[in-house]
């Protein structure tokens, strides 16, 4: 995956990201870490095209994220599963495939089942999101993100609302996806997962990329801030 971030500024009411410039190539699993309010979720949302930056451009694999084509190449997993609550786990996937990817009912069904099985949900496919556990719902939303066959999957703190057991369950499921040949960009607080799964780490601090590199930087931080962060998280 090739990632180019140029002159990104982003404000809500306050300045969240400040003059961000960044280039990266040949990494397929990028973790973004940092304290709350450091701008990491915002950066993820901008890279996924979910939100538009106040100024600046982002290109991933040479495609600008504001290009309408780009959305077809990405999948997004939200903090809280964000499945459509009135649809079953399976329908959450087939509806999208039928209506926006012009698949037939049967094709959509096959694809949905394939990914739900991959996430170990074959027994839950006809349940509504409210009738499954948080971990199962989150796995279903990962299946939904995968079902459009995207190149890149974004995960925005996928386990933030889950207890440690469900967190483990979801993250293990994500690790099993390594062989699919997809790229992952994710925000998480679970550092063991970062070490296991990421091949590149971006540490955000006060709206800037403060330190970045292979996961080794977590064991040997160069900056005081990351050092402090690691102490607190441990």
């Amino acid at each position: 995956m090739k990632l180019e971030i140029q002159n990104i500024n982003h404000n809500y009411d306050v300045e969240v990201l400040k003059d961000l410039n960044f280039m990266l190539d040949n990494h397929n699993s990028i973790a973004i870490i940092g304290v709350s309010g450091s701008g990491k979720s915002t950066l993820l949302r901008l890279m996924s095209g979910l939100e538009k930056p106040t100024s600046g451009t982002i290109k991933i694999n040479d495609l600008a994220v504001d290009n309408p084509e780009y959305k077809k190449h990405v999948g997004f997993v939200f903090q809280q599963h964000n499945l459509f609550p009135h649809l079953t786990l399976k329908r959450n996937i087939t509806l999208i495939l039928e209506k926006t990817r012009s698949k037939t009912k049967q094709e959509a069904d096959e694809i949905a089942m394939k990914y739900l099985k991959l996430l170990h949900l074959e027994d839950q496919v006809n349940k509504l999101p409210k009738n499954v556990s948080g971990g199962q719902a989150q796995r279903a939303s990962i299946a939904r993100a995968l079902s459009g066959n995207p190149e890149i999957i974004f995960l925005d703190e996928p386990t933030a609302s889950l207890d440690p057991i469900l967190t483990h369950e979801v993250l293990t499921a994500v690790e099993e996806l390594k062989g699919l040949g997809k790229s992952f960009i994710f925000v998480t607080h679970v550092l063991s997962f970062v070490k296991d799964f990421a091949d590149y780490v971006i540490y955000m601090h006060e709206g800037k990329i403060h330190e970045c590199g292979t996961p080794d930087i977590l064991d040997d931080p160069k900056t005081n801030e990351l050092n402090e962060f690691m102490k607190k998280v441990r």
């Binding site: 979910l50 809280q80 964000n82 009135h86 926006t100």
Partner: protein, 252 residues
């Protein structure tokens, strides 16, 4: 074991309801037995067809008012959400005035002042219009609550998957909103049914008016009001039961 305790719970609920209904009936019987005057619905028997017609008219205007206020309420909702400040202000002022206006006054003003100002002396029409206007801010709130129940993230997801505006409304938004809309909508319908009694001021032959006419001839005033009470309950209780059923059926 689970299903056992579940049905036991259900049994308890049913018994509680029967006990509650008995309590109300006991109170009514007590009140009835304490009366010294004669009490009979018989004097209303000759008016049964007129009263039946009154029930029909009450249901008719209530449905018209429900539909009308749903449409007007939706327009108000859209104007309130509009980016044009003037519309927001207009809706605010309108809502404030309606909240403070007795329905009775609104019906009189609409039928006797506003109607004629537009060269219309069709009082029934303007009476129903008053009912529609009166309910519209409440309907607006119902829409507001329903639509705000769809999270920002859901809109982002629809965006991400590339749903067209039609697909968004048809497959995602409306199916969810209807579930939330139904119960308050039906509550408002009950308000409308009771509110429609005030249309008797315009001599519209709805339930209240027809019984009122009968009362003025047979002088059975108290009985007339009791009869009226019973007939309104006969319309509103099945409606609210139906609402609860829908609520259970659609709940998320």
């Amino acid at each position: 074991m689970v299903s056992n305790s579940l049905s036991l719970n259900k049994l308890k609920t049913i018994i509680s309801y029967i006990a509650a209904i008995m309590t109300v009936i006991a109170f009514m019987v007590f009140v009835a037995l304490r009366q010294t005057d004669d009490f009979s619905f018989e004097p209303f028997f000759p008016y049964r067809n007129v009263i039946l017609n009154g029930i029909k008219n009450t249901i008719f205007v209530s449905i018209i008012s429900l539909l009308g206020s749903m449409v007007l309420g939706f327009i108000l909702y859209l104007l309130q959400k509009s980016k044009i400040k003037y519309f927001n202000a207009l809706i605010d002022v309108f809502t404030e005035i309606i909240y403070g206006t007795p329905l009775l006054v609104l019906i009189i003003v609409t039928a006797f002042l506003i109607g004629p100002a537009f060269n219309s002396y069709n009082r029934n029409l303007f009476g129903v219009l008053a009912l529609i206007i009166y309910m519209s801010p409440y309907m607006k709130n119902v829409y507001k609550a329903a639509f705000s129940s769809i999270s920002h993230d859901q809109y982002l997801a629809m965006d991400l998957f590339g749903f067209t505006p039609f697909q968004r409304y048809f497959y995602i938004i409306i199916p969810q909103v209807i579930r939330i809309l139904m119960p308050p909508l039906m509550n408002n319908f009950s308000l409308i049914i009771k509110g429609s009694a005030l249309l008797n001021l315009l001599s519209y032959p709805e339930l209240f008016f027809t019984i009122d006419v009968a009362q003025s001839r047979n002088f059975a005033y108290v009985e007339g009001y009791i009869l009226m009470w019973g007939l309104y309950l006969l319309i509103t209780i099945p409606l609210s039961q139906f609402t609860k059923y829908i609520e259970r059926k659609l709940s998320l």
